[in-house]
């Protein structure tokens, strides 16, 4: 059952070329375009060749995985998820599909399909970016290290896997916001806007929490922020790149820091919680449109 549901979902995603192309396919396509333009510039411009600097393939290949956790990437992911989840309401297709299947697997498979499609797209972008960087290095006669060794490959695999995991978590949280919004608004635009408001609002919550904590001369309220996804995503990325916590400055002075394990735990709770909440709501929902 799961495999068939997944195949159906994958066909819907790949068949919706406009939405999928504009919101996800655009990333590998842009990477390809940049590489092609770079190669053309290297072929025809000596100044471009002279200004091109050495790069590390271990860094270039990982760069695409930062996109799902930056504001533009997250916005597009929210839009993509909104199309997939709210589209079923807007196109009235739930009423045909729901009687034929169990509701919870239907909704869970949607999450899996979104995640795998995003992982597939960014893996493709990462390959294009990594290989393209090598071609550019060849064309400009610059360095493209480090040399392959078992240590380098092991470190790269660890970093790559971790970035991929964080991108996956970011995608799942964005998908969770958009899917919840889809359940409530039942419209693609409504879901996308509500999802973006939720995602931005969650980040911006730091400001009122900081103000309340300052006014009441207590750190209690600010500690709520430590349990939100954006803070914890930032923290795990900081641990990953800087090998230290990002930290949260308290109004009373001092900085509170959290371990990578703490943030990973909080993020896992958010992902599971959002997906479970969506599944429960969908299970109980009247499909009236």
């Amino acid at each position: 059952m799961w495999v068939r549901l997944f195949r159906a979902e994958w066909r819907k995603i790949t068949g919706n070329r406009w939405a999928t192309g504009c919101m996800i396919g655009i990333f590998p396509a842009l990477a390809f375009l940049v590489i092609v333009l770079g190669l053309l510039a290297a072929a025809f411009s000596s100044s471009f060749r002279a200004s091109f600097e050495d790069n590390l393939w271990t860094e270039l290949a990982i760069v695409p995985w930062l996109i799902p956790n930056n504001p533009l990437g997250r916005g597009l992911l929210l839009g993509f998820t909104a199309v997939l989840f709210a589209g079923e309401y807007q196109w009235n297709t739930w009423k045909t599909i729901v009687p034929r299947s169990q509701r919870v697997p239907l909704i869970l498979v949607k999450f899996v399909a979104v995640a795998l499609f995003v992982v597939f797209a960014f893996t493709l972008m990462s390959v294009i970016w990594g290989v393209g960087g090598g071609l550019l290095a060849l064309a400009t006669d610059t360095g493209y290290g480090p040399a392959l060794s078992s240590d380098v490959l092991r470190d790269f695999a660890t970093d790559y896997g971790r970035q991929m995991l964080y991108a996956f978590v970011g995608t799942m949280i964005a998908a969770g916001y958009a899917s919840l919004a889809a359940m409530i608004t039942r419209s693609i635009l409504g879901s996308a806007i509500t999802g973006i408001v939720l995602a931005i609002g969650e980040t911006m919550l730091l400001v009122p929490l900081y103000l309340i904590s300052s006014l009441l001369d207590t750190n209690t309220f600010l500690h709520f922020y430590r349990f939100l996804p954006s803070y914890n995503l930032l923290n795990v990325l900081s641990w990953s790149y800087d090998k230290s916590a990002s930290g949260l400055e308290l109004p009373s002075g001092g900085i509170v820091t959290d371990s990578r394990l703490f943030s990973e735990g909080v993020l896992a709770c958010w992902v599971i919680g959002l997906i479970a909440l969506t599944a429960v709501l969908f299970q109980r929902q009247d499909i009236t449109n």
Binding site: R11, K12, G15, N16, N92, P99, R100, S101, L106, T288
Partner: protein
């Protein structure tokens, strides 16, 4: 409960809205039983609760109270029974960025079926959509979508077909084809068909039994043949018709026939017709024509819904 009962609805209530003051009672204490193999018409004016009932049957919405059984299985507790049901609710809806065939493939996969290519060809042929199935649904007419919807409903070879206004958007030939298809599915393949329709004439021709609902409540249920012949009526053309009505009234019930200046309908048993004619002639009323009047389902429908709604839905 026997398995020869395809649908059994017990004390069904459905309301929408949380606040009591704004609560809308869509279905009120509905009890219904549909035997397997029948073509069952489900009629009622707009807002009578037909689509709400159909949505409950398909577990798209949960009843506020009451139970629904399909083939003896509780539709909410034993949901797998829905795999024996094909449906078309409130017009066909598809992923319009995909082709008709690709839509059918998706519906088959979500039904947990890996159907052979031949099955898709078969159902597409059944609704005369073979050639156009490779085109995107976006370019389909309403009638084409409706036909594709029936193909989707038939895909799993269901025992029960629930069709909500299947003739919507179809031209007269399309309506006639659907009528023939529905009858064939019941007669040749033993399918049970639960059909709500605007087309009372079609319902009359195709259905074995009908239920009429109004304001969420069941008002009549029975065999179509019994409902349309329940009243013995004669049509009498006479001049002057007003005097004719006055002469007969008091002895037999009369009603002017809608759309006619010189005809009236008289509720009278077959054997009493000569008495009516004699009375008219004795009163110097010219009688031009006396003929049995067969009440159509539409006449019956309008009489039981008390003419509150001039159109049905």
């Amino acid at each position: 409960m026997s398995n020869t009962t395809a649908i059994r609805i017990e004390n069904l209530h459905k309301h929408f809205g949380w606040r009591k003051s704004k609560r809308v009672q869509a279905v009120k204490n509905l009890n219904l039983e549909v035997a397997a193999g029948q073509v069952y018409g489900f009629l009622g004016p707009n807002g009578a609760g037909k689509t709400t009932t159909i949505r409950v049957l398909l577990d798209l919405i949960r009843p506020s109270q009451g139970d629904v059984y399909l083939f003896g299985k509780h539709v909410q507790r034993e949901r797998e029974v829905l795999s024996r049901v094909g449906s078309l609710v409130e017009g066909a809806s598809f992923y319009d960025f995909l082709s008709g065939r690709r839509n059918l493939e998706i519906f088959a996969l979500t039904s947990n079926l890996d159907l052979p290519r031949a099955r898709f060809d078969e159902v597409l042929k059944l609704v005369d959509m073979e050639a156009r199935s490779v085109r995107r649904v976006k370019g389909y007419s309403t009638g084409m979508k409706q036909r594709l919807g029936i193909a989707a409903a038939m895909l799993t070879d269901p025992d029960l077909l629930i069709l909500d206004e299947p003739a919507n958007g179809l031209d007269p030939q399309g309506i006639s084809e659907i009528r023939a298809l529905v009858r064939r599915l019941a007669d040749q393949y033993g399918k049970t068909i639960f059909l709500s329709s605007h087309q009372l004439g079609e319902v009359e021709q195709v259905c074995d039994r009908v239920a009429i609902v109004n304001k969420g409540e069941l008002v009549r249920e029975g065999r179509v043949a019994d409902l349309v012949t329940a009243k013995a009526q004669f049509r009498i053309r006479a001049n002057p018709v007003e005097r004719a009505m006055a002469v007969i009234d008091g002895h037999w019930t009369t009603t002017p026939q809608a759309g006619s200046d010189d005809a009236l309908l008289v509720d009278v048993a077959d054997g009493e017709t000569p008495l009516v004619v004699k009375r008219l002639v004795d009163n110097n009323i010219q009688v031009y024509e006396v003929s049995p009047h067969r009440q159509s389902l539409e006449d019956y429908f309008l009489s039981v819904t008390e003419g509150e709604n001039s159109h049905v839905g």
